[in-house]
Symmetry: C3
Subunit: 253 residues, 3 copies
């Protein structure tokens, strides 16, 4: 850090198992990726190339090299997995992971409907090849699961081999663990945390109010996902209680 | 594309007559313009330097050269045309187009009130010098035209020489073809499409929900405008049905 | 300017005492800072490194050098001052200002509660070291001051040595002089202006509607703060009446 401030909450350091920040890159240029690494590299634990943006983004190889050299694991968004599964291209998908030397992959069912056993089977198979992150929750605002269901799904996916489970929110932050309005479904989150170890979950929290909410609930070292590249520094200050939204919270703590 | 996904909708290629993406640059630096070209150049058919930002943007000549070398036509936003017309500077305006070697110009009346005959006269005159894009619809939320009026205006402007007509939405996407809330005026759009050839219209659609709406209505190759530079990749995935919002739509198709 | 438009409002030039634009940098990389200077440097009078982002931003020294070479004064956000005051680190804070060769500092009490006399004492002390900008208004949506209170606080802070007083709005623009919704508290602003010289106030106005409101009320040369780097060009066009929102206003004027 650039100078000393007394009594700040302690942050985990890389390689982090909790307190992760997962950033969504939805089409940065090479130079923009370098800029992001310069500023946010130390605070970023995972980069998701949002949904299937990797399909159309130029210079993908070079971008993956940049992130690899910076020591930040990258994975393709779950919607790409789903787009290929639904077209019967699972083997192609595995080859793409190899071709791009990816060490992580996301398994999700936000846009497709598959049996949960089948989803877990994909998690099992991909776990032999890469580190799997799986996502629970639909991208459809109509599909709302009861808390016991979230817990059941998360438990099964962790048992099937998922390193972390992601609680779905989309880029916009208004489905899954959030209401339409973007507000957190607090009872749901509380209940999930009674059964699933906190460090196994990455909460998608693209909006500031959501980041604040989770930091206040779980602490500086909550794992947050779908953070915009330009928001990594702001999120880090929220975790440390040096932005007004969490200022008082950490003084009391 | 970086790998193969089966059964995606076919996209038109450059030079496109339909399926255009028009991007709004409201003050990129030279390096930012280069970054945008690297990522979005292939997917971008037109660049608008928003309203009169070209008046105050430094290094305008160099920026125009960058876009010219990338083969992407640029034009100045219609508000500049209007600011000069209302000050009796039409001849100055024509000289500016020449000075900056522009091949395209926008004629609009979103902020001024002129007779439609006069507007068409400007379209006719400018058509002798450049390719004209004309914009229909007021930037004033109070001024709501009936569908027959939209059709009449668009028809006259195309006859006067407009290459494409743009359906106004502003950068914010809450006027013209949209309600205050940003929601599309669906009946209006349906009625326009009964009379005006789809490929003659560029729909300003700065918000994701609006892009999704037009892609679902018209298809992968609808022409969309006022796209932010960072949204060109996301828009391309929407067109291809590889983002959740249009995922199911194109599976069914 | 790149070409000539007749009858535009006259803008003050650097070094400006009114018509200032204060930009918030919340974590730009060095290259992004250069890009911002290229485009917005001429139009930017002050840069705030938002709240305590300077604590976690890499290459802080190099960034400050860039801004120094561009001739744009920089200061650290008031929340950093508050974070150190509340921890009894005022002397450390003064040393940090020296270490980074800052010529400006912000004194605020948006997140802490201190007696106003004490705040003015900090303004007095820091005024001996740097140019002080002080901020009035809480970041807490619950804390709403009556107009006479705003005037009393601003007057005392100017007397204590503040060069300018800032009317609080946060990055989001929904507290202090704004309602929850982001709408301006018009009666409050009118009343403040009866007592405080207009050129002593910087109005935080991160949202376009707020910028438009103040430009219409006070004119092209109102001082605006918390402007995003990418919005400097758009704000300049609003000041000149060459964007639709203020187009008609300046024609009439």
């Amino acid at each position: 850090m650039n100078y000393h401030i007394n009594d700040l909450p302690e942050r985990t350091v890389k390689p982090r198992n909790s307190g992760l920040t997962m950033v969504m890159d939805k089409g940065l240029s090479l130079r923009q990726a370098e800029d992001f690494i310069e500023v946010g590299g130390e605070y970023t634990d995972l980069i998701k190339l949002g949904w299937a943006t990797s399909y159309v983004t130029p210079k993908l190889d070079e971008k993956l090299s940049l992130y690899r050299e910076a020591g930040i694991p990258v994975y393709f968004g779950g919607t790409l997995f789903e787009a290929m599964i639904v077209r019967g291209q699972f083997d192609d998908y595995r080859r793409i992971l190899d071709k791009y030397k990816l060490q992580h992959a996301e398994v999700s069912d936000g846009s497709i409907t598959i049996e949960h056993d089948e989803k877990c089977e994909y998690i099992r198979k991909l776990s032999e090849q890469v580190t799997v992150i799986s996502e629970v929750g639909s991208k459809d605002v109509q599909k709302i699961f009861a808390p016991y269901k979230w817990i059941k799904l998360m438990t099964a996916e962790i048992e099937a081999g998922s390193w972390k489970v992601i609680a779905e929110a989309r880029e916009s932050g208004n489905v899954g663990i959030y209401r339409d309005s973007g507000e957190v479904r607090q009872g749901l989150v509380d209940e999930i945390l009674t059964q699933i170890p906190e460090e196994s979950i990455i909460w998608e929290a693209p909006q500031k109010a959501q980041q604040v909410w989770f930091i206040k609930l779980i602490g500086a070292n909550v794992s947050l996902g779908n953070i915009a590249p330009a928001d990594v520094i702001p999120v880090e200050t929220l975790r440390l209680g040096i932005r007004s939204d969490t200022f008082e919270h950490f003084l009391k703590g």
